[in-house]
Structure formats: C-alpha cells, structure tokens
C-alpha cells in the first residue's frame, strides 16, 4: 500500500485558552486507504494528545464521528483520505456549539429528538407474538429506520443555522419513521407536535440534509411526504 504525504488542517478550539477557533496544520505520511478517523487517531496518539474528537464503533453505525471535511459533512470512520485532493480541512459539525476541537454540543439535538416521541406508541392490545408488517408496509419506513442520529443532516441545514428552535431534519425524519409505521398509534400526537412554525414548515426543501446523510437516506423526500400527510390530515 502506497504512503503519501498529506497536510491536515484541523480547526482547533479550547474554550479554556482560546478566544476563537483557529486552524492548526499537521503534516504526515498516510496510506491512501486510511480513513479520516485513522488520521485523527495518528495525530492524537503520536503528535498531539490534546486533540479532542468523538469516536466509537469505527463501523459507520454509532454516528459519533460526524464532522465537516473539505466542506462536506461526513463520518470520519468510513471516509478514506484519497477522496480529498490537496489539503484536508477538518472542522466540527456546523450549527452546533463547540465544546472542544471537533467535539460539539449535541444536547439540543437530542432534546429535539425527544420532542417527537421517538418510540413506538401502541394503544391496541398487544399481539401474542411479534408485531408483523407486510414488506409493502415496511417499505415506507425501510430507509428512515437506518438513521444513526449522527447529526450530519441537521448540522447541514441552513434553516437550522438561522433558527436554533427549528426541530431539524433528524428529529423530523424520526417523526416520519413512526408516523408512517403501521404498528404505531401515536401518529396524530406526533403530527400535532411537528405541525408547527418551528417544526416541519421550516423545511424549505433545500436538500442539504440529503447530500450530507452518510446513509444516503432521502430525507427531503420523506419530509415532503410528511408535509402532505399533515395537510391532508388537517383539511
């Protein structure tokens, strides 16, 4: 495997010592198949142990390592460095406040998620065995259940940058996932929650969320279906 010299620029910020975030350059030789997370680990373990970033599963399933690289929101663990030409600029996810370096404050993100009741609500008697769905019924939510809540979509949304009260695509997608789940009985409750000035109507179909999603979920399309359902329901 060939090694190549790469310049890595990282936006560093330590609230205890820095007035504002600043770029720091690191130069090293990396395998072209190395991921962004490999590079961050290399820097953290061998060059500067003070570099803060989140990581966990290394398998693109925990959603911890979402960050902005060369202008794109990506998962560091699944993105190889050969995808980027020239200098690699690594920043924390935009739209969230920075705790330290690449670690952002996700509290508000998860608070908004809780608002849409992200769990199955069942009023009918429980079946003896498992709840079943037909393949056709499951198809409506098949993609949306693969969301790993990494925050890449919500952080890429310009409507959220302008209004931090906006629920954001991740919470709305989770609302869609349960509203369109045939086993769920809480659809009206959830639709009442997202049918709000700071809910679904702040989505202007900009498509940034779809481009940012590392799981290639067609978020904007599902949010549009949700809008139609809410309007149909209220007429």
């Amino acid at each position: 495997m060939s090694k190549e010299k790469r310049v890595i620029k990282i936006l560093r910020y330590d609230p205890a010592n820095d007035k504002k975030p600043h770029w720091v350059d690191y130069t090293g030789e990396y395998d072209s198949d190395s991921t962004i997370l490999d590079v961050l680990n290399e820097i953290h373990w061998k060059i500067d142990g003070s570099l803060a970033y989140r990581r966990s599963c290394r398998s693109a399933i925990c959603g911890s390592c979402a960050m902005k690289v060369n202008g794109q929101n990506i998962l560091a663990c699944e993105t190889p460095i050969h995808k980027f030409k020239g200098k690699i600029k690594i920043e924390p996810l935009p739209g969230f406040s920075i705790i330290k370096d690449l670690v952002v404050d996700m509290d508000l993100f998860f608070e908004k998620l809780k608002k849409v009741k992200p769990y199955l609500i069942v009023d009918k008697p429980l079946p003896d065995k498992e709840f079943t769905q037909s393949p056709e019924e499951f198809e409506h939510i098949r993609e949306s259940v693969t969301c790993i809540l990494c925050g890449a979509c919500t952080s890429s949304c310009p409507s959220l940058w302008g209004n931090e009260d906006y629920l954001g695509p991740a919470a709305l997608l989770r609302a869609y996932r349960f509203i369109f789940d045939t086993r769920d009985d809480g659809a009206n409750d959830r639709m009442d929650i997202v049918n709000d000035k700071n809910g679904i109507w702040r989505c202007h179909t900009i498509f940034n969320c779809m481009e940012a999603c590392p799981k290639d979920i067609k978020i904007t399309e599902y949010l549009s279906r949700l809008k139609v359902k809410i309007v149909e329901n209220s007429i």
Binding site: G162, D196, N198, G199, I200, W201, H204, V231
Partner: protein
C-alpha cells in the same frame, strides 16, 4: 400540549399548501404568457402587436391572473424564508406589513399596465 417552542402556530401548513398550488397555477399561466406574448404572431413581435392584443378581455384576464399568482407566490416565498430569521413579534408584524404593502403597490402598478395599455389605442 406544552411544545416549549417560542412560536406556535398551525398556519405553516396552509401557507405551504398555497405555495405549492400557486406554483402549479403559475407554471400554466407562465406558459400561457409566453405563448400569447411571444409565439402567436407573425415574425418579430412589435409593441403595437402587444398593445393590440391587450384590447382583448381574455388576454388581459390571463395577464391579470398571472400577475396575481406571481405576486402571491413571490411574496409568500419571501415571507416563508424571512420567518426563519425573525423571532420578535414586532419585527414579524413590521416585515409582514411591508411585504403586504409591496404586494398591493405592485399589484396596482401591474393592473394599471394591463388594463390601461390596451385602452390607449
């Protein structure tokens, strides 16, 4: 239900629906505008040709509906985006009033053009 949001309103759905409906109507009227203004005629379209057409009530009706829909769609679009950035009630009322006034003025000027131009000949 306590939503814990700074603004709560159900008006978003109606605004969104009318924006979609006006977009469809606008597309049809835009095509009608292009066809009647630019493609029905003989060779180069001249000022007098258009003024001549503006005598016909059906032609003016299409232009009037086009003006109405375009203004509604445009101003409603600006309002929907502007709402992202306005939280204070006073600011919202001020911007909304300015947009409505702008709509009324442009509607008036547009109607003058549509209904007066043909009458000049």
């Amino acid at each position: 239900m306590d939503k814990n949001f700074k603004e709560t309103s159900k008006s978003g759905g109606i605004i969104w629906l009318f924006q979609r409906l006006s977009a469809v109507v606008l597309f049809v009227l835009l095509m009608a505008h292009y066809v009647t203004y630019h493609f029905i005629g003989h060779g180069v379209v001249k000022y007098v040709d258009i003024i001549e057409k503006m005598k016909a009530p059906w032609f003016n009706l299409i232009q009037f509906l086009f003006l109405l829909t375009a203004l509604y769609h445009g101003i409603n679009g600006i309002w929907m985006v502007a709402e992202d950035y306005m939280k204070k009630k006073g600011t919202r009322i001020f911007v909304f009033s300015v947009l409505v006034m702008l709509g009324v003025i442009l509607m008036f000027v547009g109607m003058l053009t549509i209904f007066k131009a043909g009458a000049k000949l």
